[in-house]
């Protein structure tokens, strides 16, 4: 009887030590799931999902606090990818967070810009170059099209220009193949 207890206790100790060591040795930095979700999100940092940026939204999805259909810039395609990754059911974009629009970049009307810096402060990705009483210019390559700079402009000099589909901007669409009943 005593022998059996000792053997079991010894086994528990050895396995416990092995597990404890493995936890330290093979520790995973960060949450790999959050990284994967973040990679799918469009990185517009627009906040339309109700979170301060794409990463916080990714964390919320990973924790199960947010639904996968709150990202208008990601669109149906993004929701399909998230559904695939997380093994959840696809659902259409939730209307309260906005509608999917074609990709666009902000353009400043130079004839009207008064150099107030309000758009620069609003830009989540530092894509606007300018300072007080200097011309402001959008760096198109960095602009995510989040539209956050449009509202703060006191002279309404910023508008969004859709990006035309060219060889450089074309993207492979997410393949959506309907499932058919095969006899």
């Amino acid at each position: 009887m005593l022998e059996a207890i000792l053997v079991m206790a010894f086994g528990a100790l050895v396995l416990g030590a092995a597990l404890g060591y493995a936890a330290v040795r093979f520790r995973v930095e960060g949450d790999p799931l959050v990284e994967k979700i973040d990679a799918i999100l469009p990185q517009t940092q627009c906040g339309q999902c109700g979170f301060p940026g794409c990463k916080p939204y990714a964390q919320a999805i990973a924790k199960g606090e947010a639904d996968i259909n709150c990202c208008p810039p990601g669109g149906e395609e993004g929701i399909h990818k998230l559904a695939d990754l997380l093994g959840r059911e696809f659902k259409s974009l939730s209307a309260e967070h906005g509608v999917e629009k074609p990709k666009a970049v902000a353009v400043i009307d130079e004839q009207v810009c008064i150099g107030c810096t309000l758009c620069i402060q609003a830009c989540p990705v530092d894509a606007i170059v300018g300072a007080a009483k200097q011309m402001h210019t959008v760096v198109s390559a960095q602009c995510t099209g989040c539209e956050l700079c449009v509202a703060p402009c006191p002279v309404d000099c910023i508008h969004m220009e859709p990006i035309e589909e060219t060889v450089d901007t074309w993207k492979w669409k997410y393949p959506v193949v309907p499932i058919r009943q095969v006899a």
Binding site: I114, V129, V138, P154
Partner: protein, 104 residues
């Protein structure tokens, strides 16, 4: 990791925005970064006596020492006169938003 800092130099026009990444020795100034970027040769319209400089939307002098990951920006002057634009908008009865003195 021999003391170098990574900075960017930006000159933006509506048609073309140039962002040039540089690796400079620590203690370099904004002026040296612009010199190293080669933007002056490419854009003859830049006149450092007229075009103001800044680092991340804050005006700076050419002898300002840079820190790692700074973005040196070469600005262009405004076309519109802010006072005029505001007057016009007031005359047209459009409300000015934040930044105009009077609130919405």
């Amino acid at each position: 990791m021999a003391e170098t800092i990574d900075v960017e130099v930006v000159y933006a026009t509506p048609e073309r925005q140039e962002v040039i990444g540089l690796s400079l020795p620590e203690g370099s100034t904004a002026g040296q970064a612009i010199e190293a970027s080669g933007l002056l040769a490419k854009h003859s319209e830049i006149d450092l006596a007229k075009n103001k400089l800044g680092i991340y939307a804050k005006l700076a002098k050419a002898d300002t020492a840079l820190r790692d990951r700074d973005r040196v920006e070469i600005y262009r002057p405004l076309i519109a006169d802010p006072k005029e634009v505001r007057k016009q908008r007031a005359a047209e009865g459009k409300a000015m938003k934040k930044g105009s003195g009077e609130g919405e």
